[in-house]
Symmetry: D2
Subunit: 450 residues, 4 copies
């Protein structure tokens, strides 16, 4: 998961990119970067860490331009290197190409191999660079043609913003796996971003989704829209479950309303006698409220989330790691003590967090802990941009609900049904990608399956 933003304006965009990225920070905290075109060449500043750690007054003396893009990168397991931070910048054919991407290609390995056999080399180890490479390779004077040829080759999830000379280009895969929105201010400033929050905060009207297969080009003449092919909607339903901000409305579904309705539905599907409903903040909160509302069991805050994240040290001791985990969520003894608790979370992936949490809730005095999950069991890895573990580490791929319940130490455990969740969207179910729940992959991910 990542977040992207692009702005085309008549005035300096660097601080707007900064604040916009800030409102997308929940989509990725590992690295962040901004690239602007200063009228002559690209200026790129990026690095490991949060947006406001990477940019200061001195950065903005360098970053100066009326058009730019930005990116926040999700902390992925394994080696995290500064060279994998985005935007990527590359030179070819006397042009500079800058690009930022949210999603994941399912065929990047084979394309990469093919390109390498042709002699191409790469500056990063991420799939995004395959997109950049193809666009540059196919470019012969018409950037939109190059994008179309690129889209003909790449498969999977991609919501891309690109800077090419004084043009802002954006495109979205035919399935529309990952969100992408566009808005325009009354002054003609155009903003494209992963969620609506930056568009609302910086101030645009006429906010709409970039459509699956759509290619946008923004230049001095305004917004041009083109399509690569017909769309074949497969919007990632997990965006609403977990990733997007509560205030996001993506492809016709509002994240808050969806989560809340899931809680209501789950309350009917899996009722329980209890004293309090609590949430695992923040993404579990609307679901818990819906559960409480429907069930009539009072909602309370029983887990306190630390709003200031700890820094990661280079070689932490195990003791330091544990401190850092405990810092994140603190069970509220005064709420939990001697109570029968329904705790609502958005999903269970590995199960380790749930286990640790239930253990600490019981230590804080909870008499019973009934876990309710407002998404179905995650049984399959995502190949379209979410960093889920392989099947052997997905607890629901290997154990029954009852076995999971026992492993995590809950007194009862229930997941919302697939139909329940889909009903909460208010849309027809076939526009969503549900592959992490049912293993039906709209775009064949064969080469990624280990």
């Amino acid at each position: 998961m990542c977040g992207v933003i692009g702005i085309h304006s008549q005035s300096d965009v660097s601080k707007k990119l900064f604040y916009g990225l800030n409102s997308l920070q929940h989509r990725g905290q590992e690295a962040s970067g901004i690239c602007v075109y200063d009228g002559e060449s690209m200026v790129l500043e990026k690095g490991m860490g949060l947006v406001y750690d990477n940019f200061d007054d001195e950065s903005f003396l360098k970053l100066s331009g009326n058009i730019g893009i930005g990116h926040v990168r999700y902390a992925t397991a394994g080696g995290s290197h500064e060279y994998n931070s985005q935007p990527l910048l590359a030179f070819s054919k006397n042009k500079e190409f800058a690009l930022a991407h949210n999603g994941n290609l399912v065929n990047h390995k084979s394309i990469r191999k093919e390109l390498e056999e042709e002699g191409m080399l790469f500056q990063t180890s991420i799939d995004t660079e395959v997109i950049l490479s193809l666009v540059a390779k196919f470019y012969e004077g018409d950037i939109i043609e190059a994008v179309k040829k690129t889209m003909a080759r790449i498969k999977g999830a991609y919501s891309v913003v690109m800077l090419f000379e004084d043009k802002l280009v954006a495109f979205r895969d035919p399935n529309g796996f990952r969100p992408l929105l566009i808005g325009e201010s009354q002054k003609g400033e155009v903003i494209i971003a992963s969620e609506n929050a930056p568009l609302e905060i910086i101030g645009t009207d006429k906010i709409r989704d970039v459509k699956p297969s759509e290619i946008i080009l923004v230049d001095e003449n305004g917004i041009h829209s083109d399509f690569y092919e017909k769309d074949n909607r497969e919007h990632c339903i997990f965006e609403y479950v977990y990733f997007a901000r509560t205030d996001a409305t993506l492809d016709g579904v509002n994240s808050y309303n969806f989560r809340r309705r899931c809680g209501e539905i789950l309350s009917k599907e899996a009722p329980v006698e209890a004293d309090l409903v609590i949430a695992v903040p923040d993404s579990g909160t609307p679901g818990a409220m819906g559960y409480a509302q429907e069930s009539g069991i009072p909602f309370a805050e029983g887990l306190v989330k630390n709003r200031y994240m700890g820094r990661t040290f280079i070689k932490p001791t195990p003791e330091e790691r544990e401190l850092s985990v405990k810092l994140k969520l603190n069970p509220l003894e005064t709420v939990l003590k001697d109570k029968r608790i329904v705790v609502v979370d958005d999903s269970i992936v590995r199960g380790t967090t749930s286990k640790n949490l239930i253990m600490r809730m019981k230590k804080a005095g909870a008499k019973e802990v009934h876990m309710r999950i407002v998404s179905p069991p995650v049984k399959y890895p995502c190949f379209y941009g979410i960093d889920t573990p392989s099947r052997k580490n997905l607890i629901a791929a290997n154990y029954s609900v009852e076995e999971i319940r026992e492993k995590i130490g809950a007194d009862s455990l229930a997941f919302i049904s697939m139909d329940g969740m889909l009903g909460a969207t208010g849309l027809k179910e076939d526009v969503f990608c549900k592959s992490c729940f049912n293993g039906n992959y709209a775009v064949e991910p064969k080469e990624l399956i280990v």
Copy 2:
């Protein structure tokens, strides 16, 4: 408002101070610092900014000691200078004194003047240095005696942790205005801090409040307790209203339960017909839940708070300032649209934030906005450590409730009654300082009144 922490251990405390301060970060984001005693001398690292901005791997190569203190400083209006960050360190009589303080002295100006006339000078412009100066001045071989003589001179609010050689010292004013707790682990590690969160996270049992007038000394022989005089409890009730974490239990009152009960009581005192109850997050949330629970009106999240704070640039433009404000709270159109809303906040101080918020809620489609405040009107400045403005800027000091309602653009407005709020504590009312509501100052603040 500030937060303090002190740790006495048999192993290195620097990372524990770091994580502990992190959990107190909500009490102050302007500056932060850590001072440890390395067995020979004090090592001090501090600076402007958040805890995890000020400390990195290189800091911890320097900070190495089994005893230390830390501080987070609240962003105060007016000149913020690095030299005002804490802990303070001073040299006298061949000793090093390090000290961190939460609270405010009401007689620091006259003491300072007196000391200056004796020829003393100061390294900061903060009242804390008066405490440090007196302790050093009175020190003649017995640090506890020096503290007692200091307590005989200073008046007001002070919860202090101090490092003196290999001893950790802490003391709290006779009124106990600001919180201070102590805990001990099974291994004999002692932690003293402004709230219970760091004690729970780092791991201590036997957590108790440091008592008003109490003086604690921790050395290799354990914990020694002494008293300056009888206590005369005046616990700041605003800690529960606003400052403390939701999971804080300070001087017998749990912050979460208090806030929730206030909401319940207010719901009875000031009912209204509406479709939804929403909160101004985060401190308004428990009150809003209580209000919803008691009234039967559904609770919803209608305001989304950005979890990643923007950096402050040195010379922001007005446009940048506005972006930064909008970034903090975003009204959720999908929740508010065409609804009659009860919005619950913890307090109204100047009224400008409420006005801006209601305006944006209405723009997002709210049909009616009924504001409910889970504390009485703030009519008087605080002289005991909360950075409230002078009377002329306190809206409730100058206008009636109806006038305030009109100014902030609410459809109705109600504050909880004083009795209502006090009832929510579950304790006798005379143990609380309520001066910001009723102007009854337990410790005469004459010299601070402008």
Copy 3:
């Protein structure tokens, strides 16, 4: 101009790379970087600025490996971007290739164009990346074969160090334009670097030049040497004139002795009656001493060089620029006053520095200023790695010696003769590249001539 270093060892090399780069800092101050192989993958840290600005304790917690390379980059005119700093790192064919380069290719534009037409793109705007691209493209399992194929394509000046898995590779162009030396310690540690200083400081014996056309591979079995073709020596004579440290012995010529002898020879070629000989420090000093020694005119220090360079601010005012220039060299009134001065410098390129200097010397009281230059007039640009301006900005390409004298305000001006300079080397003249003086380019630079 740049400096490179590579180390292959049985213990950690990161700090040695740091100190070694430090001793090469005179070859480039714009940017610096270190890349080590940690046994699994490459770790790269680089950035704008001096070596000791870019690396701190935290860097060395990350950089940990027994084999590594480093680079210092010269401040070039025009856009200086962090992405152009070296070492470069690239991925291809499941391998990581890291490379650092001193020199300049004369055919990088055409190769780049060709590669771009094949679809390749570049992460930098520097010629070095062409080398990296070719090596990766040609790599099919044998790194030395890939290097040979690369050498068959690239023309111009290149002294390269490369990291490939646990191997250190180095190669030098057939003309040997830029220096490169190798040494081995008694413990079997191998160091390859642009000058002998790092080899002596870190501690190796058996120091020798890497030969023109030579390819070195260092792995656990020791040093392997191979040759691409016969050498055709064209050692850059300007290295001895200006770039190399005084203590450098490169390809059989010692820089200090060369400079001093040039001064002696010039003293015979262009004598003058004067009171004192002074040098433009530091590279003019040995020449001035030779001149003084031979002429019998006393040598004195009349220009004081500031040893601490000022930082470059992002948008300096003209006044700040001037301060920064004056800071560099200060004429010593007490030495110059009322004296007839011979001032010896290594070369004249644009003439602006000489003009400014003579003006300031006269203002400080010098009665006469006779300028003596220990290299012939620079009439042609260098295409082999020295950042000389185009012909229209080379003063000696456009004006006679007498015209130059008048423009810079000297009372007399003389350059050493070509024969004089060549004689000072003690070697046969045909082993040197003298193209900046006579325009005879051993390797055709056609595509670089603007």
Copy 4:
């Protein structure tokens, strides 16, 4: 040793302080700081490290004022702490006092003890704070009176610049141990600094020494001069021997001419048959030239000094320490080999550096090494601002010249005579402090003798 600067202007002084400090950097590399008065209050930025490491574009967004002072601090043995960096800033009597100091007080311990017994405490462990404390203590509305009362109490060496409201104050001890100069530009800008370099670089005319006992006050009405008492000149002769820049003219003696003449005199006092004269750069260079000139033995550069200093890591290994030492000076084999060398240095303190150097010169092939020192043997510690070791570590305090020669491994060793050195000044000998050579302390340092 330290360096100070103060500027009073009608325009912003922050960058001028920066460049001025840069030209004083040779007087101290441990820490640096700048304090300006912005019209309302003091803005202070300081830290460990070189001037250009501590200040960047962001610093200068904060530092903005027409009057300011700066300081560079010498690396002293033992604990170096950021809190000891200057300028110091203190608050008293509703005023802000900022001060920077070069020198050393001989009675700071007793004054400090006295002040501490009165109850005063200190923010640093340096003697400078005693001056600041006294000025603040004595201030009763007239800053010059406060300075005079302070000067009546403090004894020893002090050249001080002070910022008080919109006034720049400077004063120098009656003995004038440490240098201090003042200059004024045609625009009325006044600069006061430790050496003339910053005055010349920033651009002032009418440069003169601040006189011993003189008190300068610069305000909007210009420069006011006052005197505390008659002067009793005891200018530190070691400034000319070692500390000052070559281009310094302090109290009537030019550092370059002095050093050169010392070399000439020493050549007559201690001739030797040899092939070459070389210098230990940089302070030994003029002496070596004088020696060469007078003796007729050719001068050559045989030791190469690294112009880029290595960073100090927090916990260096012994191997890293040695690398760092070797990095500083590299013997030039090509010059030294098979030669009889006269090596001229400014002084011998502990003898360890000389020993190491001679060993390395011999390893590089020197046949004979004759050491010549252009100052007499240092037999007594300095109590007036130079960080010399105690007597037991001064080699000349414990051994005869012949014993020293043997210990350092020289083939011969000679020091200039006291009369010789004094003759080189051109002034009467009684204006100089020679205490480090003869133990005659003009100001009793009893309480500092351990």
